[in-house]
């Protein structure tokens, strides 16, 4: 279906199911229970899951397929965000122009950066992309303040012209033809509470389209060429293929994905700051992709989800919550356990993240996807495991 083979179609359906039901699946614990800490089904976090999912899916098209490791993709995300906020300031609070322009501008910018950086390969390419991104960040902070708002960034304001909005002057909210992004429907079933949020569903649909397009690219002759480039550039050249346009196309496509993610961020929360382009943000998407499993279809989405989940959930846990959890233990033991766990939670969540990175690379070189495959094999689900892996074209 959709021009995909049976396995890919099934994978797509699974992802569709999971994203559509996410507000329910991610809130498995009843409100007020001790485990409610682990619920992730609130709009802000779910939006971040899918938006960073898009970012990582796009990054994976470049890195996973061609092996070119860009360290500057946050710049495209940032450019997308700035383009989107300007659309909201000048045209309308409707998110459609904002999202379209974020893709267009990020695509143009990545065309320039890619055209120059792809003259080199290996670490030299990585450093070139890093240099461009850091320059963009520094300039957004300083000289480009008229366009970027400098350190404070940009927000949609009442005083913005917004020529297409009829009710200009009144403060509009980000919307899709009148449907407000931040409007939510609260659903209470017994002790469970679920939030169905418009913004999330918009972002999720965009993510599904992005994911579908990524599958198509992976399975296309173009995708095969990109994998061939990773494998042996010399052979590509002597087979009559020009590698540069292929890598440039992959670079621009992944730049457009990054821009789309940036545009969606603005659609969900109408503000931008330059820190979005800082190199740590570029590093984060690299880590997401490798953590999930570079070159696999679902890996980057898993990696993005995992990092964002840890960042949000672990950082919220504090000592008193720990005491609650371990209250069934004798007092002395309880204190000891809380003291041991303490460095890893709250502000220490990055420590947990660092340890997770190390553990995954050491024990699961293929990322979370490989972990899933190993589990699958352990339970003898031979057929299901190959779902997630890139199967050879048939």
């Amino acid at each position: 279906m959709f021009g995909l083979n049976a396995k890919d179609t099934r994978l797509l359906w699974i992802v569709i199911g999971l994203t559509m039901l996410a507000p329910f699946l991610l809130n498995p614990f009843p409100e007020g229970s001790e485990l409610a800490q682990f619920n992730a089904g609130y709009p802000d976090l779910m939006q971040r899951f899918v938006i960073f999912g898009i970012f990582a899916i796009g990054f994976n098209i470049l890195f996973g397929l061609t092996g070119y490791l860009s360290f500057g993709h946050a710049a495209f995300l940032g450019v997308g965000s700035y383009a989107a906020i300007w659309m909201m300031k000048l045209l309308t609070m409707n998110v459609i122009p904002a999202i379209i322009m974020s893709i267009v501008f990020a695509g143009l910018f990545s065309l320039i950066v890619g055209w120059i950086s792809l003259r080199r390969s290996g670490i030299y390419f990585s450093i070139l992309t890093l240099a461009f991104a850091q320059m963009s960040y520094a300039l957004a902070y300083s000289v480009l303040t008229p366009i970027t708002g400098g350190e404070t960034g940009l927000q949609a304001k009442i005083s913005d012209p917004r020529i297409l909005d009829s009710n200009a002057g009144e403060f509009g909210r980000a919307n899709l033809f009148g449907l407000h992004m931040n409007s939510s429907y609260e659903l209470t079933i017994g002790r469970w509470e679920f939030t169905v949020n418009t913004g999330y569903y918009l972002a999720a649909c965009v993510m599904l389209i992005s994911f579908y397009m990524a599958i198509r690219i992976f399975r296309s002759p173009f995708g095969m060429m990109l994998r061939a480039i990773k494998s042996n550039q010399q052979r590509m050249n002597y087979t009559g293929l020009s590698t540069r346009p292929y890598t440039l196309a992959a670079f621009v496509i992944s730049g457009m994905y990054a821009g789309l993610a940036g545009g969606l961020m603005v659609a969900m929360d109408t503000q931008v700051g330059p820190e979005r382009m800082f190199w740590t943000a570029s590093g984060e998407v690299v880590l997401m992709t490798i953590l999930g499993g570079a070159g696999t279809l679902i890996g980057p989405v898993l990696g993005a989800g995992m990092i964002k989940y840890m960042e949000n959930i672990i950082s919220k846990i504090n000592d008193s919550i720990l005491h609650q959890w371990f209250s069934f233990l004798p007092d002395g033991l309880e204190d000891v356990i809380v003291a041991v766990v303490h460095p890893f939670i709250g502000k220490g969540w990055s420590l947990t993240l660092g340890l997770t990175f190390m553990a995954v690379v050491i024990f699961l070189p293929g990322g979370l996807v490989e972990g899933g495959q190993r589990l699958g094999r352990l339970f003898g689900r031979k057929s299901a495991e190959s779902d997630k892996k890139t199967p050879p074209a048939e």
Binding site: Y124, Y141, G348, G354
Partner: protein
């Protein structure tokens, strides 16, 4: 003119730090073939060696001074370092004053130990893994190290002054015939520059004139052949890793009076050091040093008022701009060898 000289001098100490970190980075890359994202963390650990030592030697107990009263009429509390009791107040005070330079002695064994443990315990298993894996695991390690430091030392920068004798500035301008007060340069920065020159010279001499260094250099050029000669190259590379860690650590120790250390200083320097390594040419030691000083000085020159007036924002981007130009015109950096990291 005097302003330019001042900026060059200012650029030298930052350049020294870049050069020292980049030297270790490229040494590790050249010998072990490993991209070490935790190298900035080693710089940071060195700085915290200095902090730790200064805290240890100024460990104090509290005595009540009955001669002075505070506003509530209670005797004031005075902290007396234990070291005063052991070595006498004068010697004790001098040692506390000189804690940063003294930390060198403390940091060398500690950093070598950390380096060797890191290599044997972790890096060793990543020699044959893809660079992406190396980056991820060392990045993870860097995060862990800096979080541990943050846990014990807090998130704020910790002022760690230079010895009293070096805390002032001297009038460099007068020395070279300019008007007095035109080029004022803190002594410690000069010390830092001299120290880094000695350290760099030491590393080069070690590689040049010892058999150990010869084998390592041969190994950098052609690992397989050296391995075939029956020389245990791995052991030497472990030692090399320890040395690179110590160099980064010492760079950190001596940098503390210039910039109070905080837990993320390693990451701040890491990215620029990578740019430095690549600009110098991956795997080239002289290249790393030259590029370190070059970029440090250029960064400093670009932040002069009239330069910024001429090209707004140039001080922010000069390093990256230079890196782009050099990489596009000299594909392998200033002094790089062919075929390194281009797979």
């Amino acid at each position: 003119m005097d302003a330019i000289i001042l900026q060059i001098l200012n650029g030298l100490d930052k350049g020294s730090a870049y050069a020292l970190i980049a030297l270790g980075l490229t040494l590790i890359f050249g010998t072990l073939g490993v991209v070490n994202f935790a190298h900035g963390a080693l710089f940071m650990l060195g700085a915290f060696c200095a902090v730790t030592l200064s805290r240890i030697i100024s460990l104090s107990y509290i005595v009540l001074d009955d001669t002075k009263k505070d506003f509530l009429g209670n005797p004031t509390k005075i902290e007396v370092p234990y070291i005063y009791d052991w070595l006498g107040a004068d010697t004790g005070a001098a040692i506390i004053d000189w804690s940063v330079p003294l930390s060198i002695l403390f940091a060398i064994p500690v950093m070598i130990l950390i380096g060797v443990i890191m290599e044997r315990g972790l890096i060793k298993h990543f020699y044959k893994r893809p660079h992406a894996d190396q980056i991820l695991v060392t990045f993870g390690l860097a995060i862990v190290l800096q979080e541990v430091i943050k846990y014990y030392f807090g998130a704020n920068p910790i002022p760690t002054p230079a010895p009293e004798a070096f805390s002032g500035s001297f009038d460099f301008g007068v020395l070279v015939g300019f008007d007095p007060n035109s080029i004022i340069y803190p002594y410690w920065r000069l010390v830092y520059f001299a120290f880094s020159m000695v350290l760099i010279a030491g590393v080069f001499a070690f590689l040049q004139f010892t058999t150990f260094g010869m084998v390592v250099r041969a190994g950098m050029a052609d690992r397989e052949t050296v391995g075939l000669l029956g020389i245990n190259i791995d052991k030497r590379f472990t030692v090399m890793f320890g040395i690179a860690a110590a160099v980064a650590g010492l760079a950190g120790v001596m940098y503390t009076p210039i910039n109070p250390p905080n837990y993320h200083m390693g990451m701040d320097f890491l990215v620029l050091s990578f740019v430095v390594v690549v600009v110098g040419g991956m795997g080239s030691l002289p290249g790393a040093v030259a590029a370190g000083f070059l970029l440090g000085v250029l960064e400093s020159l670009a932040s002069m008022g009239w330069v910024i007036d001429l090209i707004p924002g140039i001080n922010q981007v000069i390093i990256y701009l230079v890196a782009i130009v050099i990489l596009l015109t000299r594909p392998r950096g200033l002094l790089g060898r062919k075929g390194v990291m281009e797979e």
